[in-house]
Homo-oligomer: 349 residues x 2
Amino acid sequence: MSNQEATASAIDHLRTILPQDGTRDALIHSVIPNLLQSIADVAQALRNSHQVSAAGTANTFGDDQLNVDVIAENIIRATIAQCPSIVTASSEEDPIEQAVEHHATSSSSEQYTLAFDPLDGSSIISANWTVGAIFSLWDGPSALNQDPATRQIVSILGVFGPRTTAIVALRVSGSPVPKTCLELALGPAVSNPTSATVTTPTKWHLTAPTLTLAPRSKYFSPANLRMAADDPAYMTLLTSFITRRYTLRYAGGLVPDIVHMLVQGQGVYVSPVLAGGDGSRGQASKPKLRRLYELCPLALVVECAGGAAVDPVDGTAVLAREVKDCGERGGLLCGGREEVVEVVKTLLS
Amino acid sequence: MSNQEATASAIDHLRTILPQDGTRDALIHSVIPNLLQSIADVAQALRNSHQVSAAGTANTFGDDQLNVDVIAENIIRATIAQCPSIVTASSEEDPIEQAVEHHATSSSSEQYTLAFDPLDGSSIISANWTVGAIFSLWDGPSALNQDPATRQIVSILGVFGPRTTAIVALRVSGSPVPKTCLELALGPAVSNPTSATVTTPTKWHLTAPTLTLAPRSKYFSPANLRMAADDPAYMTLLTSFITRRYTLRYAGGLVPDIVHMLVQGQGVYVSPVLAGGDGSRGQASKPKLRRLYELCPLALVVECAGGAAVDPVDGTAVLAREVKDCGERGGLLCGGREEVVEVVKTLLS
C-alpha cells in the first residue's frame, strides 16, 4: 500500500464498507466521526495530565488518577451530546442506561445505544503504560436483552500510547463488507495560525484496512495468573504455553493486550474464571471483566478479525448470550479460532 | 505534596541534588536539560509517525518501523552535538564509541561519555505499547574499562506512553544527596501564537522526587519465558511466583517493565540466562540485553531507588564488572533487595 493510499480519509473508507442506501448516514457522518474525535480529545487530555504519573507512589496523587477517569468520561459525554442518533448511553463509570439529552436535533431515524469504558487500564496508567477506551454501538434504544451478535454493530477501541490509534470493528447487516476490523492512527497535529491555542489533531489515517487473526499463534496473554494457584487446569495451560515456547505479552490492560494480538495478527488471551467463580474462593476467583463495557465490544473486535471470543467457563461464544444487566461480569478467552478451541479443551478437562 | 511544589522546575530540583561547587555546571545546565529535550522531541516524532502502526501486519511497513529507530537516533545525535561536554558517544544502533563533533565550543573542563539506546522496545511499538529511550552518562572520555559503580553517574529513561515521562537516576560523588531516583513528566504543550507551527512542549514537571523500591514485592516480570522450557530452576521460580499469588506485569519492553516497578514502588524483573548461555542450546538461551546500553543504565536506576540489580548467572552486581566491549550482553535480575537475594537462590539451586 502506498503512502497516499494509507493516508486516504478514514471516513471515506468506512463509507465504502457500510450500507450505501442512506440507512446508516448518521452512523457514518456523525456518530463514528464524533467518537473518533473524542478519542483524539481524551489522548490530548491524558498527555496534559502529567500528575497522574505519581499515583501509587509515596507522594499519593490517588485522586489525580481518578480525575483522569472523570476527564475522559466528561469528554465522551460531551461528544455524545453532539450526536442526536445516540439516544441512550451508559459507561463503566456510571453503569446505568440513560436517555441522552442533545444539543441538537436530527431528522435521522437512526437510533443507537452507546456503551463505553472511558479509560480502561487504571492499574497501569500511573506507570505510563498504554491504556485504552472502549466504545460499542447497539442498534436501538437499549443494549440490554438484545442479541449481541446482530444488535451490537460497531466497536471502537481508542489506544493511548506513544501514538494515538484506534481499532474499528463493524458488522452491520446489509453492508457490502459483512464484517471488518481495521486500524486508524491519528496524524500530525495541525495548528491554527490565527488562534493562540493548539488545535486538536483530527486527521485519522487508515493504517491497516484489514486486521486478521491467524487460527494459531505463538503469543499468549494470561490474565489473572494468580488463579492458577487454585486451578490445576489453568496451571497446566500455562505450562503448556511455556513448554511450547510461546512468547509472553501481558500488559494487564484489556485494550493493549487485545490490540497487540490484532497488530501481530496472532495471539491468545485468557482471563479464566474458577469453576463456581462467585468469589467464595477468594478475590482471584471473581470474574473481572464487564460484559457490556468490555467483553461484548472486545468479542466483536475479535470476531470481525476472524478470531473467536468465548466464555472460558463453558466455551460458548461471548456474543451468544444477551446482556441482562449493566453490571454483569465474566471471563474471557479469545484469539485465533483453532487456538481457542484447544484452550477450551485444556481449561475444561 | 502540593500542585505548586510538583510543578517546580525540574532542573531547579536537580541543582539541589548535585554538587554546588561548579564542577558539575555543564552537567546541570547543558547535558541533562538537552537530553530531556531530546526525549520531548522523540516523543513528538513518535506521535507523528502514525505509519509505524502497520509494522508486523500483512501490509508490511517494516521499513517504517526501522525509520522510527533512525528518527530517534538522529534527534539524539543532533542533541549531543549541542553539548560540548559530551565528548564521546555510542548507541545501540551504532555500537562504537566515537568522539563527538560539536556545533559549539565550551570552556568547561567537564567531559562525559554518553551511551544510549534511542528506541528500546521495537517488538511492541507496532502495537502502540509504551516504549522507551535509555541514556547513561559516564565520567571521562570512555565508558569502556571503567568502574561502572563510580564512573557511570547518571541514567535517564525516556518513557513514551500516553504521557511523556522520564526517570532520572543520579549517583555523583560529592553530591549533597549521595544517590537519588526521581520521575519527571512533560507538561502541556505551549503554542506560540505568532508562529504557524506547534512548538514542542518543553516544561518538565517534577512528579515524584524520590522513587524507592520496597525490599519485597507482589509483582513479577518474567522475561524470556520460553527459556523455562529448558531450565527447571526458572520453571520452579515461575511456579513459586504463581502459587504465592504475585501479580504478573510483562510488557516485554525493558523501560516500561522497570518503570512499572519504580512507579509501583515494588517489583522483580527476571531475564535469566541458561547455564553456559552461548546460544548452543537454541535462540532462547542467548543473553539478550546489552550491558552498555541496557544493563548498566538500568542497574544504576534500580540501585538509586534502593533496589538490587545482579547477573542471574552468579548473583554478582551488574555494576561490579567493567564493560570491555560495546557489544557485551547478559541477563538481568533486579528489583527489591530481599526479593533479588531469594530469586538468586532459586535460580542457582
